[in-house]
C-alpha cells in the first residue's frame, strides 16, 4: 500500500479549557522509525490515543495507512499499541492474556510470538497481578509485535525494562523497520531515540516545535574545539564560523558553526599541540527544546 503510514491534518484536542494538542500536522512514512519527544504533558500520549481512536479529535483529522482513525474496525487491523502504563487483568496469567489479545486481533504469528517471549525472557505461567511493571510492559510488547502490524504506536515502551531488555527492544524495533513496519516511538530516553529513529518530532505544550531528520538536527549544531598550545594563543577574532571564544592559560575553547576549515588553518599555523573536538550531543539539542520558554 502506497502513501504515508500516519498522517495528521491540524489534529487538535481540547480537554475542557485545556489545549492538549494544537493543530498537529505530521506525516510518517512507511518503514520509518519516528521519534516523538517532548516534556511530560506535552501531548504525546494524547496524540497516540487520538491515532487509536480512543479520544475524539476536537478539530482536524488523522489517517493510519490511509484509513481515518475514526474507522477503528479497519484502522486497528494495521495498528498495535503499547501503552505507557500497562494495566492487565490481575487474575489472568500471561499466557491467557496473550491468547485473549491474539484472538481479538485475529491474526497472530505464533512462532514469532514464542520467539518474542523467549527473547524478552517472559514467564507466561504467572498471573498478571504478580508481574512487575517491566513484566507487564513485556506482555504488552509481545502482544503488539506478535500480530506483525503495519504501524506500531509505542508510548514510552521501555519504561521499566532493564538495560538488557531495552537493548532487545531496540533490536526488535530495528527488525520491524527493516521489514517495512512503521514504528512511532514516544520516548524520554534520548539515547534510544538517537540510536533508533530516522526522524524526530518535538512537541511542547501541544504544539510541534521541531520536526527533522536526525542528520539535519546534527548539522544544525555547532562544534566545540579545545586546542592546547605551548606558545602564545592565536587570535581567532574575525575567523569565519567562530561564534564564541574562551581562553585559559595555554588552552583555547572555540565554538564553531558550520565548516571548521578556517579555524583549523589558524590553529595549525599557531602550532597547536593537542586538539579535542566535541560535537553537541542530541541530548543537548533536545534539552534546549525542552527548556526554552517560547517555541522557536
Amino acid at each position: 500500500m502506497a502513501g504515508p503510514a500516519i498522517r495528521t491534518d491540524g489534529l487538535t484536542k481540547h480537554f475542557g479549557s485545556v489545549v492538549a494538542l494544537d493543530g498537529l500536522d505530521l506525516t510518517v512514512e512507511q518503514g520509518e522509525v519516528f521519534g516523538f519527544l517532548g516534556p511530560n504533558g506535552a501531548g504525546k500520549s494524547t496524540t497516540i490515543r487520538l491515532l487509536l481512536g480512543l479520544l475524539r479529535a476536537t478539530a482536524g483529522s488523522a489517517t493510519v495507512m490511509g484509513i481515518p482513525t475514526t474507522d477503528v474496525e479497519r484502522s486497528h487491523r494495521h495498528l498495535a499499541h503499547v501503552p505507557g502504563d500497562v494495566a492487565l487483568w490481575p487474575q489472568l496469567t500471561g499466557a491467557e492474556t496473550l491468547r485473549l489479545l491474539g484472538n481479538l486481533s485475529g491474526h497472530v504469528d505464533e512462532a514469532f510470538r514464542d520467539e518474542l517471549v523467549e527473547r524478552l525472557n517472559l514467564d507466561l505461567s504467572k498471573r498478571a497481578r504478580s508481574y512487575s511493571k517491566g513484566n507487564r510492559q513485556k506482555v504488552a510488547l509481545v502482544a503488539a509485535f506478535m500480530t506483525r502490524p503495519d504501524v506500531l504506536l509505542l508510548d514510552e515502551p521501555t519504561a521499566g525494562l532493564d538495560p538488557l531488555m531495552e537493548a532487545e527492544f531496540q533490536l526488535l524495533a530495528r527488525e520491524a523497520s527493516a521489514r517495512g513496519q512503521t514504528v512511532f516511538l514516544s520516548s524520554h530516553i534520548l539515547d534510544e531515540v538517537e540510536d533508533l529513529c530516522h526522524r524526530v518530532a518535538i512537541l511542547r505544550a501541544g504544539r510541534l516545535v521541531e520536526m527533522a531528520a536526525l542528520e539535519d538536527l546534527r548539522n544544525l549544531t555547532s562544534t566545540e574545539l579545545e586546542a592546547s598550545f605551548t606558545g602564545p594563543l592565536p587570535d581567532l577574532a574575525g575567523v569565519p564560523g567562530v561564534t564564541r571564544i574562551e581562553s585559559a592559560d595555554h588552552t583555547l575553547r572555540v565554538t564553531v558553526t558550520g565548516s571548521p576549515a578556517a579555524v583549523l588553518r589558524v590553529l595549525a599555523e599557531a602550532g597547536v599541540t593537542r586538539l579535542r573536538s566535541h560535537e553537541a550531543s542530541l541530548e543537548e539539542i533536545f534539552l534546549t527544546y525542552y527548556q526554552d520558554e517560547t517555541p522557536r
Binding site: 477503528v72 485473549l100 489479545l101 484472538n103 481479538l104 485475529g106 502482544a143
Partner: protein, 533 residues
C-alpha cells in the same frame, strides 16, 4: 515524638478524607430512613389497639426469622428498631465492609499503600488508624439515627442505646472485613469472604429466632446481639458489651496479623503460578462472561437461598399477616385482598427481588466502567473491536444475567414454598419474579446512559435511582405524594403478579423505554473520549 504524632494525624486525615463522602451520605440516608419509619408507623398504627396487635408478631417465627424480635413495638422506638433495624444494620455494614476493603486490601493491591507505609509508622498502626476512620463513620451513622428518633420524641436513653448498637454493629462488620483483608491477597476474594460472614450472621440469627430452644444462637451473631439489645425494654447490657468489645478484639487481632505478614502478602496467599485455562478467551462476549460469572453465581446463590427461606416461611407469615391491619393496608395499596394473601406476599417479595435484580444490573454495567477506568478496556479497544460491540456484549450479558437471576429466584421461592406446604404454583412464583425484569432493565439502561454521558457516577447514580424508585410507591402513600410523582417510579407500574394478570402495556412501554435509553447511552459512549489511566 512529634514526628510520630504528625504521621498518625496524617494517616488518619487521609483515611477520613477517603471515606468522608460515603460516611456523610450513609448518615443522611440513615436519618431519612428512620424519619420515614417513624412517619409510616404513626400513620399505619395510630392507636393503642393497632399497636398492641403488632406485638403479636413477637410470637410469629416467620416474622422473627426475617426481621428479628418484635419487642416493644407498641412504641415508636421499638417499632423502628424492629421494622427498620435489620435494614439499617445491613446497609451500614455493607458500606463499612466495602470501605474497609477499599482502604486496606484495595490500596495494597494497587500498591498505593506503599506511599503511606513510607511514614514512620508500623503497618499495623496504619491499619488501626484506617479502621478508626470507618468506625467513626459508623458512630456518625448511629448518632444521626439516634438524633432523628429523639427529635420525634422517642425516649433519649433508648434512642441513644439503639444508635450505639448500630455503631457497634457497623464496627463489628468493619472488623470482620479487616480480618478478611489480612487473610486474602485479592480484594475481590476478601469482599466475597466478608459478605459471606455477614450473610452467615443473618442466617444464624434466623435459625436462632426460629425456635426458643435455639435462641442461644443469637449470641453468636451481631444481628442477634441487636435483637438482645432491647433499647426500649430490658436493656441488654451484655449485648451492648459484645457490640462494643468485639470490634476492639477484631482490631487487635487484625493489627497482630498485619504485623506477621508482608505488605501485599496475606495469611492465606494464593499461588501466582498456574496452567493456562484458554476457554472463554475467544471473543469479547465470552471474555466478559468469564470475568463476571463468579459474581453472578454469588448473587444467584445468595438470592436463591433467601428466596427458599421466604418461600418456606410463606405459610407461617400468611397466618399472622391475615390479622394485621397495618400490613393488610400495605397489601391493599398493591390491590391485594386477604384471600389472596399467599400470592400477595409472593408478589410483594418479588418487588423486593426486582430491586435486587436492578442493583445487580447497575453493578454489572459498572463492571464495564471499571474495566475502562483501569485502562484494561483500552487493551481490547485498540484491536479491531468497536466500542459498540464491546459495550453491547456487556449489555447482552447483563440482560441475560437478570433473566437468569429472576428464574432462579422464582424457582427457589417455589421450591421453598413447596417444602413448607404453601399453596404456590411454579407459574405463579416464576411469573412474580419475571414480572420485575422490565424494571431491572430500565435501570440497566439508565446505567448504560450514565456510562455514556457521566461515566464517573455510573453505579452510584443508577443504583440510587433504583433504590429511590423502589421506595417511591411506599413513600408515596405514607407521605401522600401526588400521583404523578409516584408514577415516576417504574415499580409503580408493576401489576401485582400473580394476584393480578401481567400488565402487558406497561411492560412493553418499559422495555421500549429501556431500549431507547440504552441506545442513547451506547451512542454517547461511542462518541466520547475513553478515560484510560
Amino acid at each position: 515524638m512529634t514526628a510520630s504524632a504528625a504521621s498518625h494525624r496524617a494517616v488518619l486525615a487521609l483515611s477520613v478524607r477517603l471515606v468522608r463522602r460515603g460516611a456523610l451520605v450513609l448518615a443522611v440516608a440513615g436519618a431519612a430512613y428512620v424519619a420515614l419509619e417513624v412517619v409510616s408507623y404513626e400513620q399505619s398504627y395510630p392507636d393503642a389497639a393497632s399497636r398492641a396487635r403488632l406485638a403479636t408478631f413477637q410470637d410469629n417465627p416467620g416474622v422473627r426469622m426475617l426481621q428479628g424480635l418484635a419487642r416493644n413495638v407498641d412504641t415508636t422506638g421499638g417499632f423502628v428498631a424492629w421494622d427498620g433495624g435489620w435494614f439499617l444494620e445491613t446497609v451500614a455494614a455493607i458500606w463499612a465492609l466495602l470501605a474497609v476493603l477499599r482502604l486496606t486490601r484495595g490500596d495494597e493491591e494497587t500498591d498505593r499503600s506503599a506511599l503511606v507505609l513510607m511514614a514512620p509508622l508500623r503497618a499495623s498502626r496504619v491499619l488501626v488508624l484506617q479502621l478508626l476512620a470507618v468506625v467513626a463513620a459508623g458512630l456518625l451513622f448511629g448518632t444521626a439515627c439516634s438524633v432523628v428518633l429523639i427529635l420525634y420524641g422517642v425516649p433519649p436513653g433508648g434512642a441513644t442505646l439503639f444508635g450505639l448498637g448500630l455503631a457497634g454493629f457497623t464496627a463489628t462488620i468493619a472488623g470482620c472485613a479487616a480480618l478478611t483483608a489480612q487473610l486474602f491477597d485479592v480484594r475481590r476474594r476478601a469482599v466475597g469472604a466478608a459478605s459471606a460472614l455477614l450473610a452467615a450472621a443473618y442466617l444464624v440469627r434466623m435459625v436462632g429466632n426460629s425456635m426458643d430452644t435455639w435462641s442461644w444462637l443469637r449470641w453468636l451473631s451481631p444481628y442477634g446481639w441487636m435483637d438482645n439489645l432491647e433499647p426500649y425494654g430490658d436493656r441488654g447490657w451484655s449485648a451492648l458489651a459484645l457490640l462494643m468489645l468485639t470490634p476492639l478484639a477484631l482490631v487487635a487481632l487484625c493489627s497482630m496479623l498485619r504485623g506477621w505478614r508482608d505488605a501485599g502478602g496475606a495469611i492465606l496467599a494464593s499461588t501466582d503460578n498456574r496452567r493456562a485455562h484458554n476457554r472463554l478467551l475467544g471473543t469479547p462476549l465470552a471474555f466478559a462472561w468469564r470475568c463476571s460469572r463468579g459474581v453472578l453465581l454469588a448473587w444467584a446463590v445468595g438470592l436463591a437461598a433467601y428466596a427458599v427461606l421466604i418461600g418456606s416461611l410463606l405459610p407461617t407469615l400468611v397466618d399472622y399477616l391475615a390479622d394485621d391491619p397495618g400490613l393488610r393496608k400495605a397489601l391493599a395499596t398493591y390491590g391485594i385482598e386477604v384471600k389472596d394473601i399467599t400470592r400477595g406476599m409472593v408478589s410483594f417479595m418479588s418487588t423486593m427481588f426486582g430491586l435486587a435484580f436492578a442493583l445487580y444490573a447497575c453493578w454489572r454495567i459498572g463492571a464495564a466502567r471499571a474495566e475502562e477506568d483501569a485502562g484494561r478496556a483500552d487493551l481490547l479497544l485498540v484491536r479491531p473491536l468497536t466500542r459498540r460491540r464491546w459495550l453491547g456484549g456487556h449489555l447482552v450479558l447483563t440482560v441475560g444475567s437478570v433473566v437468569l437471576l429472576a428464574v432462579t429466584t422464582g424457582l427457589s421461592m417455589w421450591a421453598g414454598g413447596r417444602l413448607a406446604g404453601a399453596e404456590l404454583s411454579v407459574a405463579d412464583a416464576l411469573g412474580a419474579t419475571m414480572n420485575t425484569v422490565p424494571v431491572a432493565l430500565v435501570f440497566t439502561a439508565v446505567a448504560v446512559l450514565l456510562l455514556g454521558a457521566r461515566p464517573r457516577v455510573t453505579v452510584v447514580l443508577s443504583a440510587s435511582a433504583a433504590g429511590v424508585a423502589y421506595l417511591l410507591p411506599v413513600l408515596g402513600s405514607a407521605l401522600s405524594l401526588p400521583v404523578w410523582v409516584r408514577d415516576l417510579s417504574p415499580f409503580q407500574h408493576l401489576a401485582a403478579v400473580p394476584v393480578h394478570p401481567y400488565a402487558l402495556t406497561s411492560g412493553l412501554v418499559m422495555l421500549g423505554l429501556a431500549a431507547v435509553v440504552a441506545a442513547l447511552g451506547v451512542a454517547a459512549f461511542t462518541r466520547r473520549d475513553l478515560t484510560g489511566p
